[in-house]
């Protein structure tokens, strides 16, 4: 009688302590512990290096999928470190590139450059994959505003098998003088066409409308130049002869004219 009772008490005590400890653990936000140096993984895994990389990838993915995004942002250096290690351990593994692109560049320009380093490794390991130079082009265009570099990568991507025809057009547009607005519009239209989420689609549509207004002004500036042989000193000179009225942009966007360049910028990009 005493023995079963004693065993039951032990089991009960364990269950209570476990439940309490587990509840405490679940209250804390999930953590991504700093990764070990890359050489440690390489030196210890050997034949299992690829599996090790995939396990680290899954760990990062599970962390990002399950955590509060604020926590993720605080952990950006750890996060990018994981991506770099996974890529170094298993450069052939394509998921790293897709996941890097969907995660790092959106955080900060510094993280965009880390993502670009990883993607450049990808273009060397997978020279036939048109998505990787496209990601690089997109990062340079959208996040870093480096249109010349963006154009180079879009062009590189457009030449690969399976790449949509508009990649080449985009690259050509971007490389031309002041082509960023038209290039942005093409890209946005393509993104809007392929987007499945209605919320994101609506955001793209809003951006497309703003870009279309900017393109109308850009065309008017070009028309003015061809008529008068010079660029207008300011945009007011366009009205009403070349353009009936200057379009009104949403609070989000601002049109900046520094003859002969015309740029459409977001207010937060100005700062």
């Amino acid at each position: 009688m005493t023995k079963p009772f004693f065993v039951a008490c032990i089991i009960l005590a364990y269950s209570i302590m476990f439940a309490h400890y587990d509840n405490l653990k679940s209250e804390n936000p999930p953590q991504l512990t700093p990764a070990l140096p890359e050489t440690i993984y390489k030196a210890s895994l050997g034949f299992l290096q690829q599996l090790g990389a995939e396990v680290l990838y899954i760990k990062t993915k599970v962390f990002l999928g399950g955590s509060d995004p604020v926590v993720s942002l605080e952990k950006t250096m750890t996060l990018s470190n994981y991506f770099e290690i996974v890529n170094s351990l298993h450069p052939d593994f394509i998921d790293t590139y897709h996941f890097t692109e969907s995660t790092l560049p959106w955080i900060s320009p510094e993280q965009t450059r880390i993502a670009n380093r990883i993607l450049i490794n990808g273009t060397q390991t997978h020279p036939d994959n048109y998505m990787l130079p496209f990601y690089l082009g997109f990062n340079h265009f959208y996040f870093l505003k480096e249109h010349k570099a963006a154009s180079t990568y879009f062009w590189q991507s457009s030449k690969l098998e399976g790449a949509p025809s508009w990649f080449g057009h985009l690259a050509a547009t971007l490389s031309s003088k002041s082509g960023d607005i038209i290039g942005g519009l093409i890209l946005l239209r393509a993104m809007e066409r392929n987007e499945s989420s209605e919320v994101t689609k609506a955001r793209y549509q809003h951006d497309i409308v703003e870009h279309e207004k900017a393109v109308a002004v850009f065309k008017a500036v070009q028309l003015f130049q061809s008529k008068h042989g010079r660029y207008p000193n300011n945009l007011m000179e366009l009205t009403p002869e070349t353009l009936p009225a200057l379009p009104i942009f949403s609070n989000e966007y601002k049109l900046i004219y520094a003859p002969p360049e015309l740029r459409l910028v977001k207010h937060d990009e100005e700062q």
Binding site: A43, G46, F47, L48, I58, F93, F99
Partner: protein, 273 residues
């Protein structure tokens, strides 16, 4: 005559291994783990084929290591601890033939284990491929799968030959196990040390003696990942040349033969009492 004795001893080792519950348990556990590869692929969004292939080959590698460290080491030490070796060597069988017989028997068992796991791994990969859109699993190359399988088996035969050598040099299963694990750890880490050394040497003055020492060490502790071809399972064309592959296999085979010869020498010189 010696050949017949060697094959008889190898047959005993094989039959003994097949009857061992621990080995059957290892086989079942590995098969179960391989089937778990179907769940592993759920975590992967794009490169499902590659991740599954890596997982299956890693399971085979781990199963092989468990076989080497916990079966092969014990089989040899049991022979001594239980005095079986005396009755074997009392027959017209030289010590060198004993070493070759045990090595052959354990090699056949290892190959059998990998053959079963390899067939299940290949079937699992074919099944996974049939379930997916080609975007996620485009190619599965059977010749490259066989090449990866052979590379894995040869790499583990190297470890087995070294286990044989250590068994000849040291008494008792546990010390042999420790030495074998240490040997495997050095083989795994040494390429990284060498790579890191060469990277540093590129920026600073090259230390010729250290470079030579590392090269000599690599001759004793070979880079087993040279025989790792699992990245090629999912591609049509090999990135490594055939001559390179042949060179890797040839060097490793020579290494195995040298280790077995050293083990024969160690057993011949050893006082078994």
């Amino acid at each position: 005559m010696q050949f017949n004795n060697i094959t008889s001893l190898a047959r005993i080792i094989i039959l003994d291994g097949i009857r061992r519950h621990a080995l059957l348990g290892l086989l079942l556990l590995s098969l179960f783990s391989e089937i778990m590869g179907l769940f592993f692929m759920d975590f992967i969004s794009h490169d499902v084929g590659r991740a599954s292939s890596d997982f299956l080959f890693s399971i085979m590698w781990l199963a092989g290591l468990l076989f080497l460290f916990f079966h092969a080491v014990q089989v040899i030490s049991w022979d001594e601890e239980r005095g079986v070796i005396y009755s074997i060597l009392s027959r017209p069988l030289s010590r060198a033939s004993y070493v070759i017989g045990v090595f052959s028997g354990l090699s056949v068992l290892l190959i059998l284990l990998h053959a079963v796991l390899g067939i299940v791994a290949l079937s699992t990969l074919i099944w996974i491929q049939s379930m997916l859109d080609p975007t996620y699993f485009q190619t599965l190359s059977l010749p490259h799968f066989l090449l990866s399988w052979c590379g894995l088996v040869i790499a583990q035969l190297v470890v087995l030959s070294v286990v044989m050598l250590f068994s000849g040099l040291v008494r008792g299963g546990f010390p042999v196990l420790l030495l074998s694990v240490a040997y495997y750890a050095i083989c795994t880490a040494l390429p990284t040390v060498r790579e890191s050394f060469y990277q540093n040497a590129a920026t600073t003055d090259t230390n010729g003696v250290a470079a030579l020492l590392l090269q000599i060490l690599t001759a004793f502790f070979p880079d087993l990942t040279d025989l790792d071809y699992k990245n090629s399972v999912l591609i049509e064309t090999l990135t490594t040349s055939y001559s390179n592959i042949a060179a890797h296999f040839l060097i490793t085979s020579f290494y195995c033969v040298i280790m077995i010869a050293c083990a024969c020498f160690a057993y011949n010189r050893r006082d078994l009492q």
